[in-house]
Symmetry: C2
Subunit: 163 residues, 2 copies
DNA sequence: CCTTGATAGTTGAGTATTCAACCTGGTGGT
DNA sequence: ACCACCAGGTTGAATACTCAACTATCAAGG
């Protein structure tokens, strides 16, 4: 099967997205680091924990919600535990399970960092995109996430079957 | 000044984008690695070089075009040179300058990898987003990139002036 | 020329991430 | 009870990235 190359518009969309994302992530991460000693992934974990009942989540729940590998979550939580932003607790119901629990210090850190972070997101993303277009972004990336999360085996491989 | 929090739609857009991007980058990177021993950043560099006159670019030009730090480009190009995908050459006109030159092997690698990569991008991004929405993505992220590239000092800091 | 300051690029140490191997405890079948 | 298998999580080594310091060259002004 001959490759269906991207047309000019598609190519521009893909490159603009890639370049914009690179710059955006770098800026958000830098703002958080310089002002609050937090990385963006760490901040996201704080948010998830703060929203959870009792401010605690299983390691796997964190991994799923931020779409990071379990291994990565283990390492990241270890760092955050060292910084006393979270604590670990063995799960009573499931002997294998581990909870990460937001500490008061962790919560305070989030409350402290949130305003600036939101300003970063606004300044770099939300406020520079037309509201209509932003809705398209929401729709589009919801579709992308759906396509990639649901136990997708691998779209590429399945597409290449010769049946 | 009190924080302008994101409204529900904005929040959904931001989170969908973040989650979608995490999954997307991981998928594209994995597909390239498993099938062609290339990372996505390396692939992007191959593309830029292949499009350049004489298939060569200054280190700083590469860094600018893919929005990576110079240091990172140095490291990445070093790896690619080890794999014989590129060569380095001292710039005659500017004694400080260094060209990275695409080798035949590097070009062959790109030609080899491109069809699968494009299929990945289609399957995960292009084909799951409504064409209208994709145009919005293009517009939106072009704006984001513009806002962040042009010698922006730091939108956050300038916004926080108390004037 | 010579100095000053900027630009191009590299280096290595510190940090973050990935990957595969591993340990443990739950689950289902016999 | 036992066994095989799966899921949750951790570990450490290999790899990648960041950051600050550094070298070398260029460009401008005196």
């Amino acid at each position: 099967m001959t490759t269906r190359w991207l047309d000019s518009d598609q190519q521009q969309a893909w490159r603009a997205y890639l370049v914009g994302t690179t710059l955006l992530m770098e800026r958000l991460d830098r703002d958080l680091r310089e002002n609050h000693d937090l990385s963006l992934p760490e901040y996201e974990i704080l948010v998830r924990l703060s929203e959870a009942p009792d401010r605690m989540l299983r390691m796997a729940e964190i991994a799923d919600s931020v779409k990071n590998s379990r291994s990565r979550i283990t390492h990241t939580i270890a760092r955050m535990e060292r910084d006393e932003l979270v604590e670990r607790r063995q799960c009573a119901a499931d002997g294998r399970g581990v909870f990460a629990i937001l500490t008061d210090k962790g919560y305070a850190k989030l409350v402290d960092a949130a305003p600036l972070h939101v300003e970063s997101v606004r300044a770099a993303l939300i406020d520079v995109i037309d509201p209509e277009d932003l809705q398209s972004v929401r729709r589009g990336f919801t579709a992308v996430a759906d396509g990639l999360s649901t136990g997708t085996p691998d779209p590429i491989l399945t597409r290449h079957r010769t049946d």
